[in-house]
Amino acid sequence: MELRVEASKHLGTFDLNVDFTITGSRAGVFGPSGSGKSTLLSLIAGLIVPDRGFINLDGKMLFDSSHSVHVMPENRRIGMISQQSQLFPHLSVHKNLLYGYKRCDAAYRKITPDAVIEVLQIGPLLTRGVNNLSGGEKQRVAIGRAILSNPRLLLMDEPLSALDDDLKFQIISYLKDTCEVFNIPYIFISHALLEMRVMTDRVLKLADGCAHELVTAEELARGSMKDSGSYTNLLHLSEPQCEGDVHAYSWGDRQLFVADSGTPPVMLFELSSRDVILFKRHPEVISARNVFKATVVNAFDMGVRVGVELQCGTEKLVAEVTKKAANQMEIHEGTEIYAAIKALSFKPLH
């Protein structure tokens, strides 16, 4: 997907002026509330007409003020999933799902209802009214409805913000799976850094109605460390094996022990940079279940603290120490140190 936008829109006291090109199938738009993220998506979708400029998706001009081009929303083949599921309350789940599918040109109908129903596991919901669904079920049906319209681009306008944390990562899994399985590029909007890192590769930073820069999700997380005061490591672990009250996971060429949280083993974990303790020498006896040798690849300023990027075998991890501790431990690039993490410090995500 290649999306080129150069457009401006005046709305009351708010002005949106953007000029950017996004490529790749997992793009994001990140910015604080009121920065113009939703307005930008509405411009791309065709729900709001820009005052001037152009919008070009994969070589097709969707809007061009200089040539009076404005493709109507229903002809853009751009799907949208929003914060509220926006299911049609007078239609059943099944009719909601097929609303876009029936209106899609037969030539573009590559994704079938049966395949979507299976991936999203919404078969048992089909005959129900949408008012009898839970928040998570509604969002799954909304995802299915948007996918079944066979869009060439999917816009996701903070689709997780109305959900609680447990549900959020369930829905993220469905969102990722469906877009991967059916090969649909998407633009994901959020002001939550964690969601952005899980969902996207490239991120457009938006502030006060202006597109600032295009960065990777990892660069975005590092850049936000000074503001948030800490960094969250996202760990994709695999092959869990139960060993008493902990699970042993593979993490690159190493093994990590994670406390049993009483739920089925998950593969994605969150670990705060503050929960990684650094030692100059091996601590010998310590309650932390994970102690391993690592090499400092980067030490960077985090305001009042120092961020320490560690190479742990094939994987990387970011720890956070005070400046005084960094000086005492003589932390700099190439330093070999030991990192310790308690098995209880990992927060399961999905």
Binding site: E74, R76, R77, G79, S82, Q84, P89, Y99, C104, S149
Partner: protein, 228 residues
């Protein structure tokens, strides 16, 4: 006891006919006006709002007189449009329909608009993004979601049509068997000596029709509520 004569049955028939036809013709017009006032932004919105609601504040007799001025043989529309086409409206049941439409129109628009304004506009946007064109979106999303308003507006228009007196008597007259409606017949009976029983009988007919319409309205409302 009482016994209805042919003119009484005619009055009942004309009343129902005028109310039904006025309601059916007004419904698409009122829906369109309510749609424009709810979903569209345009210059002259205030003027349209005032024009639509003006009959609510005007005495029906004034409305009847203005319609007479417009549609009469020497009226503006009568002279330039109706006469050349050989159409006669004044003092026919069609005039009663027009009078009912004008008087009941603001009630119908208000009922529909109130329901329409409660529709989440993002649902309409969602339907457009799913490939529905403007008309498709209107008929598959807006109409079903404001169905209660359409029913309520139709009920109000029908009720107003059954009870319309002032404007009707000016433009349609009070011709038994032709333009005489239930209220006009009741007026005649009340004005004549010893005909109160007939007036009361027609009142009972009017009440019965109204009760039936209200029951149908409630039934439809509950049915739509269950579906929603």
């Amino acid at each position: 006891m009482f016994a209805f004569g042919p003119s009484d049955y005619s009055a009942i028939f004309v009343s129902v006919k005028v109310a039904v036809v006025a309601t059916l013709i007004s419904l698409p017009l009122a829906f369109t006006v309510a749609y424009c006032m709810t979903f569209k932004r345009f210059k002259g919105m205030l003027v349209l709002d005032v024009l639509v609601n003006l009959p609510l504040t005007l005495p029906p007799v004034v409305i009847g007189y203005l319609l007479l001025m417009l549609l009469g043989q020497n009226g503006w529309i009568g002279t330039w449009l109706l006469q050349p086409l050989g159409i006669r409206i004044i003092f026919t049941w069609k005039a009663a329909v027009i009078a009912t439409m004008v008087v009941g129109f603001p009630l119908m628009v208000r009922a529909i608009r109130t329901n329409m304004e409660a529709i989440d506009r993002r649902l309409v946007d969602a339907s457009r993004l799913l490939g529905a064109g403007c008309l498709d979106s209107i008929f598959t999303i807006i109409v079903p979601l404001c169905f209660r308003g359409l029913i309520a507006g139709s009920l109000l228009m029908f009720a107003r049509g059954l009870g319309e007196f002032g404007a009707t008597i000016i433009v349609a007259g009070n011709i038994p068997g032709v333009t005489q409606t239930i209220p006009l017949a009741i007026y005649d009976y009340v004005s004549s000596p010893n005909r109160e029983v007939m007036a009361m009988a027609l009142c009972c007919v009017s009440i019965t029709i109204s009760v039936v319409v209200l029951i149908v309205h409630e039934w439809l409302g509950k049915r739509m509520g269950r579906r929603a």
